[in-house]
């Protein structure tokens, strides 16, 4: 079984450690693929060399996490990055359901990111059902479970639990990520499964969130890299294939 952590930040953006340092540890922890979420302003070429070096050990993806102020702002952002990075994630960082609804309905968006307290308090069952129907992944970052303490942590666990319960009820695809910004925040897949247990995500579904669902996205990325790919659902088909 291959495990993926699709939400790591390195020193290319706000992270503390070099991509290679994080990559070495991720491989040691048992990941087959990771995505660096550094590529808002940084060109993906920055990891071209590392990608080459590590291609036999670990698959590398480039990801951008958009934090738009409005739905229009999101669309502008998507236009800019859609052909540059492998994965596009959207988060609102505030209680704005409109951004999330637009992101879920937009085929260019791969991931709806939930990591902060306010974001977990934003979506409900109907949104997750919509995400399921549109094939958009929900990202649950466990970073704040590690970083927060006492009252903040208990509040976070409660909100995450309420959200995760609805995600599971809606049968929406979701991924677990460490959201690590330094190598010390990385966690092995089994440790992430344990952290997911804190918010009552069953082990089996947590494992799927680290392997099966990310693999769906990986296949989608590979499909996009295909020269015959035009847009979501549209691909040039050769006469033989037909």
């Amino acid at each position: 079984m291959k495990f993926y952590d699709l939400g790591i930040k390195s020193s290319l953006s706000i992270g503390q450690d070099e991509p290679a340092v994080m990559l070495d540890l991720a491989i040691e922890l048992g990941y087959a693929g990771i995505a660096f979420a550094d590529f808002g302003n940084v060109p993906p070429k920055a990891i071209k060399q590392i990608k080459k070096e590590y291609q036999d050990k670990c698959t590398l993806f480039t990801r951008v996490t958009l934090t738009p102020k409005s739905a229009d702002d999101m669309k502008r952002g998507l236009k800019e990055v859609q052909n540059i990075v492998d994965i596009i994630a959207v988060r609102s960082a505030r209680k704005d359901k409109n951004i999330y609804v637009n992101a879920i309905l937009d085929k260019r968006v791969d991931i709806i990111s939930l990591s902060e307290l306010v974001e977990f308090d934003c979506l409900d069952y109907s949104h997750f059902k919509m995400a399921k129907d549109n094939g958009t992944l929900i990202e649950i970052s466990t970073r704040d479970l590690i970083l927060t303490e006492k009252f903040q942590r208990s509040k976070l666990i409660r909100l995450m639990y309420k959200n995760c319960e609805q995600i599971i009820r809606a049968n929406a695809p979701f991924i677990l990520t460490s959201g690590a910004e330094s190598k010390w925040e990385l966690r092995a897949p089994k440790e992430l499964v344990m952290l997911a247990g804190l918010v009552k995500i069953p082990d089996k579904q947590a494992i799927n969130a680290l392997s099966s669902y990310p693999e769906i996205l990986v296949r989608k990325i590979q499909m996009r890299r295909d020269p015959n790919y035009i847009m979501a659902g549209v691909r040039i088909v050769s006469p033989e294939e037909e």
Binding site: E191, M194, L195
Partner: protein
């Protein structure tokens, strides 16, 4: 009626950028357990540090019912006495012998490779 508690042994690999003593390690684990599950929850774990190779690995013993609690608490630890720290559960077994046979050899082999390089 058999009242003996069933135990599980965990082999944890420790990755750190500083020096972590035995007492510091066990105190950090207890603190993490207590912070997540409270004093009552912690009392149910029957946690014991059986063996510790400084900054390399440790063997913990716990009740079978508290295994998930202990593993979660280990995942939450990120610093011990100011040193960055990451704990990875390499294996779980019902006996120390089986644990060492199955998993410790792998860690020791890695340690040797590290020393050689």
């Amino acid at each position: 009626m058999n009242t003996k508690e069933r135990q599980r042994y965990l082999l944890i690999k420790i990755i750190t950028d500083g020096e972590i003593g035995e007492q510091q390690l066990i105190r950090a684990i207890w603190r993490s357990l207590s912070s997540l599950y409270g004093e009552f929850g912690t009392s149910r774990t029957g946690l014991w540090l059986i063996e510790y190779e400084r900054n390399r690995y440790g063997i913990l013993r716990t009740n079978i019912q508290a295994l998930t609690m202990v593993r979660t608490s280990l995942a939450v630890i990120r610093q011990i006495e100011g040193n960055n720290c990451l704990m990875v559960v390499e294996g779980v077994s019902g006996t120390i012998e089986a644990l060492k046979r199955k998993h410790l050899a792998k860690i020791k082999l890695n340690m040797q490779e590290e020393i050689q390089t």
